[in-house]
Structures are given as C-alpha cells and as structure tokens.
C-alpha cells in the first residue's frame, strides 16, 4: 500500500514538473532579462530628444498634410501599395487595393483595407553601423521617413530586402485591427470636419 502511494506520488510529482517547468523557466528567463544590465554607453536622453525633434521636422516636410496628421495623432502612417498584383509574387486580390502601415521601429504591415485582412509583416531596419553618435538606431520619425521613402520610391526593393513573416509575429494582430479601426474613425472625423468647413462658407 505504501509502495503504491509512493509510486503515485512520484508520478504526480513528475507530471507536475512537466507541466510547471516550461512556465517557471519562461518566468525565470523574463526575470533575468528584466534584471540584465543594458549597455547604454554614450546614451544621452537629451540628445535623443533633440534628434527626434529634428527628425519630426524633416518627416513633416516630406509627407503630405494628411500623413503628417495621421502620424501625429495615431502614431503610424498608411502608404498605399503600388504593385499591380500585390506585395508578394503569386498574390492576386482581384484588383483590390492594398496598403501598408508604417510604425516606428516595428515591422511594416501589409493589409487589405476593404476587408482589413492582414497580409504580411515586413521586418526591416536601417542600421547605421558607423554609430556616429553612439547608436546605430535612427530616431523614431527618421525610421518612419526611411520606410516611407523606400516604400514610395522603390516598393519592390524594400519588400525584397525585408524579412517577410506572417501577421502576428511581432505586432499583435488585435492591435493592428484596433489601429485600422482608429484610422477609419479618424478619417471619418476629418471628412465630417471638412464637410462642416465647406458647408460653413456661404455666398452672401
């Protein structure tokens, strides 16, 4: 009887270990990552803020008013796709337009605006390995501008250069769908404002 109980206890312990260990290991890993010392050699928050201010000015001078307002208010820019069949070989959306969402320092998301179907994530970076000011990472707005220029200037090359993944690898699809909903709301509000503005001007 004692032997049977001991054997059962051992089996239960082994099973519990099997179930609990991956969770415990993941938590341990996260705890270590949180406590890890991040090398910030030469990092100057004031300099980074000034760099971002300059980058915002440059971005504003390049994109149109709608794109700038979109970035300022929503935190991303939508760029319409220009390839006839879609961003990837073999794509065929029956002529439906597709677009990209550009986030700072996150993958570019390709999607179908009509159905809000997410197509792909394009992971792309613009590292400056000369690290002129201690970092290889562009300011947020420069990263957005670099993606905007590469997409509007040579979409095929950017798509070919990027690492393509299915949606959800880095950016939660729920967040992207929420952003697409916010974009729709934002566009409708702008349209209403424009109509009000147009309706407010009457001939004497």
């Amino acid at each position: 009887m004692l032997l049977a109980l001991s054997a059962s206890a051992v089996v239960i312990l082994v099973l519990l270990w099997e179930v609990a260990w991956p969770v415990a290991a993941e938590r341990l890993e996260r705890w270590r990552a949180r406590r890890a010392l991040v090398e910030l050699d030469g990092y100057d928050p004031g300099r980074e803020r000034r760099a971002e201010q300059r980058a915002r000015g440059l971005l504003r001078s390049c994109v149109n008013e709608e794109e700038w307002a979109m970035y300022r208010e929503l935190g991303f820019i939508r760029v319409w796709g220009g390839l006839a069949a879609g961003p990837e070989r073999g794509d065929d959306f029956g002529g439906a337009p597709y677009a990209y969402l550009i986030y700072p320092h996150k993958p570019v998301i390709a999607y179908l605006p009509q159905t809000r179907r997410l197509l792909n994530e394009y992971c792309v970076a613009f590292p400056d390995e000369t690290r002129p000011y201690g970092s290889a990472r562009l300011p947020d707005s420069d990263d957005v501008l670099a993606k905007w220029m590469a997409l509007t200037g040579d979409e095929r090359r950017l798509v070919a250069t990027a690492n393509m993944h299915l949606p959800g690898r880095q950016i939660d699809p729920k967040q992207v769908r929420r952003d697409l909903w916010r974009l729709t709301q934002w566009e409708q509000a702008r349209m209403r404002e424009r109509q009000r503005g147009a309706g407010g001007v009457h001939a004497p």
């Binding site: 300099r47 760099a51 390049c62 992971c123 792309v124 400056d128 000011y133 509007t152």
Partner: protein, 77 residues
Amino acid sequence: MKPGHGEVLIAEGDIDVPAEHDALVEQFRAQLDAGMWAAVPRATAAGRREARMAFSFDDVPRDAERVIFFPRAAGGR
C-alpha cells in the same frame, strides 16, 4: 539622417555653378559609397507626395531642392 542626431546638412550648392556641381557630385558618391541610399521627396502631378530613389547623381531631378541620404535597408528581426 544620423542616429542620435537626425538631419545633418552634408553639402549645399547650385547645380548650375560648375564648382558647386562637382562638389555635390562628390558628396553624393561619397554617401552612396558609405552604404547610404538616396531619395528625393517630391509631389506628383496629382498632388500626392512620394520619394524618388536616386542611384546616381543623374537620377536627381535638376529642380530638386534636396536629396536625403539614409542608411541602407536590411532585413530586420
């Protein structure tokens, strides 16, 4: 575009002045040799804004106000 700094003016000049033209060509080549991409922001006839990539100085429209150099794209994680 420079990490930690943002926009940096590399060179400026009048393309119709031979000496300044040569200096601009030299700087353009130096940037591309350093691994940068070059783009010219512009407005299309339809009023849309877009960039035109410049792979050589000849690709830069003569009426371009500026050329922006940015680090070459690489596949990210």
